[in-house]
Structures are given as C-alpha cells and as structure tokens.
C-alpha cells in the first residue's frame, strides 16, 4: 500500500469517528433508553393481562415488527410532511428507532417476565406484598437480569442500524463517510475504514456487556462450563 493512502486513511479517521461519537452513539443511547421504557410498560401491560391496553399493545408490536425500519423512517421523515407534520432528521430518527426497538424489547422483556417462576409472585403475596410491589421488587428485577444479554444484543444492532438514518440526512458516520467519498475515488479503503470503526464500537460495547454480565452474575463461570462440556463429552462417548 502506498504512503499517500495511509496518510489519507489516518487523516479521515477522526472525520469518521467523530460523528460516531457525537451522533451515532448518543442517538442510539437516547433511542434505546426510550425503547426500554416503552418496552417495560408494554411488557407489564401484557404480562398483567390488562384488557384493552393489552390488545393495543399487541397491535403496536405487530405493526412495528411487521414493517421494515427503513420504511418507517421514510414514512415519518418524507411522508408526514405531506400532511403538514414536519420533523427534523434527528428527532425523526429518535422517534422511529425508539418505537421500533421498543416493540422488539417488549417481546424480550415479556418473555423474561413469563420465565420467572410463578412461586416468586405467590411468595410475595404470602409475605403481604401487593402485585405491583412484588413485580417491582422481585419479578421485574429477575426478568431484567435474564433479559440483559438480549437487550445488549439489541443495543449493538441499533448502533449499526443507525447507519440507515444517513438516508434521511442525519449527519452520522455513514453520511459523513459518503461526503468524504465525494472528493476522492478511494471507495473501498474508506468504506473498509468505516466498517473498522463500527467494529471498534461494537467490540467496546461487547466488552462492556461482558463486564456488566459478570457484575450481575450472569452466565456460568468458565470452570463450570468446562465441567458441563466434559459431561456432554462423557454422554456422547
């Protein structure tokens, strides 16, 4: 590789990573926080089987999961102005990503709520706690711990999916990379560099996930995992 290409890549590196740090990550964090709140409310509604609200919540999940994210973005950003609703690129992205991810996380959290043994709720009743108290203190914390790996996964996916917002001119990493390209012909090198930046982001997030999982005591300590593998091998042979 010739020296000028290296210089070019090194010079463009901050121009790619900065919009990542300034737009992609904060936007993802904000959208995911909203998604999480939406999901908790929806999951609790569905778990508690509250009439009408449950059906409404189901409808929401059905629509959000059944239509492509990209089209949802286009409807909000390009479609709504025709009925007089004009929303800026970043708020559009925030709304669409929060709503879309909220639907997926609803399913994750609801599933984890269902997986908490019924006895936990019953034990709560029997020590004199109400349904809301037991949910808040006992069932929800256990469900969220179980949900954590899936939710982390969703978060990491969202970081990458944020690149879709380039199409509604949010000035995030993909958008800025395309602008850099306009002035050069180094397409492969620049896109490869962008991919590497995403890889760096996701690697850091994955490490963070592992760290938190260990704090929460999720997953098997490696020693135990070997024991299980050993036992499996034993069964096979």
């Amino acid at each position: 590789m010739d020296e000028s290409l290296w210089t070019f890549l090194i010079e463009s590196f901050p121009k790619i990573i900065l919009p990542g740090l300034k737009i992609t990550l904060p936007l993802t964090a904000a959208a995911f926080t909203w998604a999480f709140c939406i999901a908790i409310v929806n999951a609790l509604i569905q778990f508690a089987n509250i009439p009408v609200l449950k059906q409404a919540s189901r409808l929401y999940v059905w629509i959000m999961r059944g239509t492509p994210l990209m089209i949802q973005l286009y409807i909000v950003f390009f479609g709504l102005p025709s009925v007089g609703v004009v929303i800026d690129p970043i708020p559009s992205a925030l709304i669409v990503f929060a709503m879309n991810e909220g639907a997926y996380c609803t399913e994750t959290i609801r599933g984890c709520l269902e997986s908490v043994p019924k006895g936990q709720l019953e034990a709560g009743y029997c020590v004199g706690m109400s349904y809301p108290q037991t949910m808040r203190r006992v069932v929800l914390p256990q469900a969220l711990k179980t949900a954590f790996p899936s939710l982390s996964n969703s978060f990491i996916c969202m970081v990458k999916d944020m690149s879709l917002t380039a199409s509604i001119s949010v000035a995030e990493m993909f958008y800025e990379t395309q602008r850099l390209l306009g002035r050069t012909y180094k397409t492969l090198a620049l896109y490869a560099e962008l991919a590497v930046v995403y890889l760096i982001f996701c690697t850091v997030l994955t490490l963070l996930q592992r760290l938190i999982e260990r704090k929460l005591g999720i997953g098997q300590p490696s020693k135990k995992r070997w024991q299980i593998l050993g036992r499996l091998a034993h069964v096979r042979s």
Partner: protein, 256 residues
C-alpha cells in the same frame, strides 16, 4: 375461639372435583398435621386458605370475621394475607434477594416498617433458625435445608396468626430434613398456630396435636395423634398406617 374456620370449601379444576365439601376449624396454638395420599387435595386446601387458588364456594372465618370465598375483595385478601404466612414445598425464596432481604421484604415493603427495625427482626429470625452469619447469602448459595429455614424465618418475621406449611421437607435430601423439622418443632413449642401438610410421620406423631387425614378431598379421619396412629377407626386410615409401618420397617430392618 378459633383462629381460622373453613366451612363447605369447594374447589374444582376443570372437571376434576378436588375438594367437594371441606370444613375444618383451627384453634389458637393448634399444630395440625394434614396427611393423606398424594393427589388428595392437601396443597389445594392450603392454597385456597391463602387465596393462591380461588375457591368455587365456601366460607372462611378469620379472626371472627366471616368471608364468602367466592366474593373475596382484594382488600380483604391482602389484609388476611398480612396476618398469615406460607411455607412452600420448594421454598420460593426471592431469588434476587439475600437471606436477610428475604426476611425483611415483607416488613419493609408490605408493612412499611423502617429498615433498621426490620433488619433487627430479620437478624433475630435468622438466628432463631440457626442461620446467623448467612444474612448476605443469596438463595442459590444456600443448601435446600438452609433455604427452607430462611423461608420459615421469613414466615415468622411478620408475626402471623397462623403459618401454612406445604410439605416443607419433601424437596429436601434426607440428611437435611432434620434441621428443618427441629426449627418447626421449636416454633410449635412456642405456641405458633400451624397447619402442616407433611409425610413426616415422626412430626405428625410427636409434634402435632391434631391429625387431619385427607383422602379424595374429604376428611376421612380426624383426631389426636395417639388415637389416630394407635387406634384408627376407618379402614382407609388403617390401610394408610399399615402402609407407613411397612415402609418404616423396610427402611429400618434393624428395629425388628
């Protein structure tokens, strides 16, 4: 005066009539051992008493106030549950809480007691069941016997008028049963009112003051342990006791 009186309790699961018509009265300080074959409806009876199962009919009188079991108000259910406690076969400790938190949760959250006082009670209760020093252990760090003792401490902490035990030792390894039974015996000696569904005949014989023998959802025989075991009146009871003796002899042949 009786602490708890159940009259004409009825419960069906779909087509299965588990409790056709059950009436029982529990006096203060009673230690009632409920025994009977598996599937007799013992668990269902206890669960109906604490509204974990909704009865199809009957009347429950708690502390002198009668309630129609079909039309229980949420508020009445909560009020009665606050004055009773339940010990489950599989412990059901709050998995995300430490031993101490398991004991204090009902006091702090359910009864709005201040934390300091609740923890004082919690530590005292854990000490009573022989678990001082294990306050900060999570349930998955405790043996089955220890978990069940925490569950008993949790039940005692709220100073209930009656504690329901549903086969508290059935999920335990044999060598852990003794430690739980001795805690229960101590509790009985202190005058706690208890209904204990159990297969531990030593407990029924030596600790309980009354036996309820339940078959197919009906109380077939009822009486003092000495009478029940020494001089059973019904054929079903005779057969049941003979079965027990055979099993005990098979387990301890040296006694003969």
């Amino acid at each position: 005066m009786s602490v708890l009186e159940i009259r004409h309790l009825k419960k069906k699961f779909e087509e299965l009539e588990v409790l056709p018509d059950l009436s029982v009265s529990i006096e203060k300080g009673d230690v009632v051992a409920v025994i009977g074959p598996s599937g007799a409806g013992k668990t269902t009876m206890l669960r109906c008493c604490n509204f974990l199962e909704k009865a199809d009919g009957g009347e429950l009188t708690f502390d002198g106030i009668a309630h129609d079991l079909r039309k229980m108000k949420t508020r009445d259910i909560a009020a009665i549950r606050k004055r009773t406690a339940f010990v489950f076969q599989n412990y059901n400790l709050f998995a995300n809480k430490t031993a101490l938190q398991n004991v204090t949760e009902g006091l702090i959250i359910g009864r709005h007691m201040n934390r300091k006082k609740a923890e004082e009670i919690g530590r005292a209760m854990l000490e009573k069941v022989g678990l001082s020093g294990r306050e900060d252990a999570k349930p998955d760090q405790l043996s089955g016997g220890q978990q069940q003792r925490v569950a008993i401490a949790r039940a005692m902490a709220t100073d209930p008028e009656i504690i329901y035990f549903d086969e508290p030792t059935s999920a335990l390894d044999p060598e852990l049963i003794g430690e739980v039974l001795s805690v229960m015996r101590k509790l009985a000696e202190e005058g706690m009112t208890m209904i204990v569904v159990t297969h531990e005949m030593s407990f029924a014989r030596n600790v309980a003051n009354r036996i309820l023998f339940l078959v197919d959802g009906q109380i077939v025989e009822e009486g003092a342990p000495a009478d029940f075991f020494g001089n059973p009146k019904t054929d079903r009871a005779k057969e049941f006791i003979r079965g027990l003796e055979d099993r005990e002899n098979a387990e301890n042949p040296q006694r003969r």
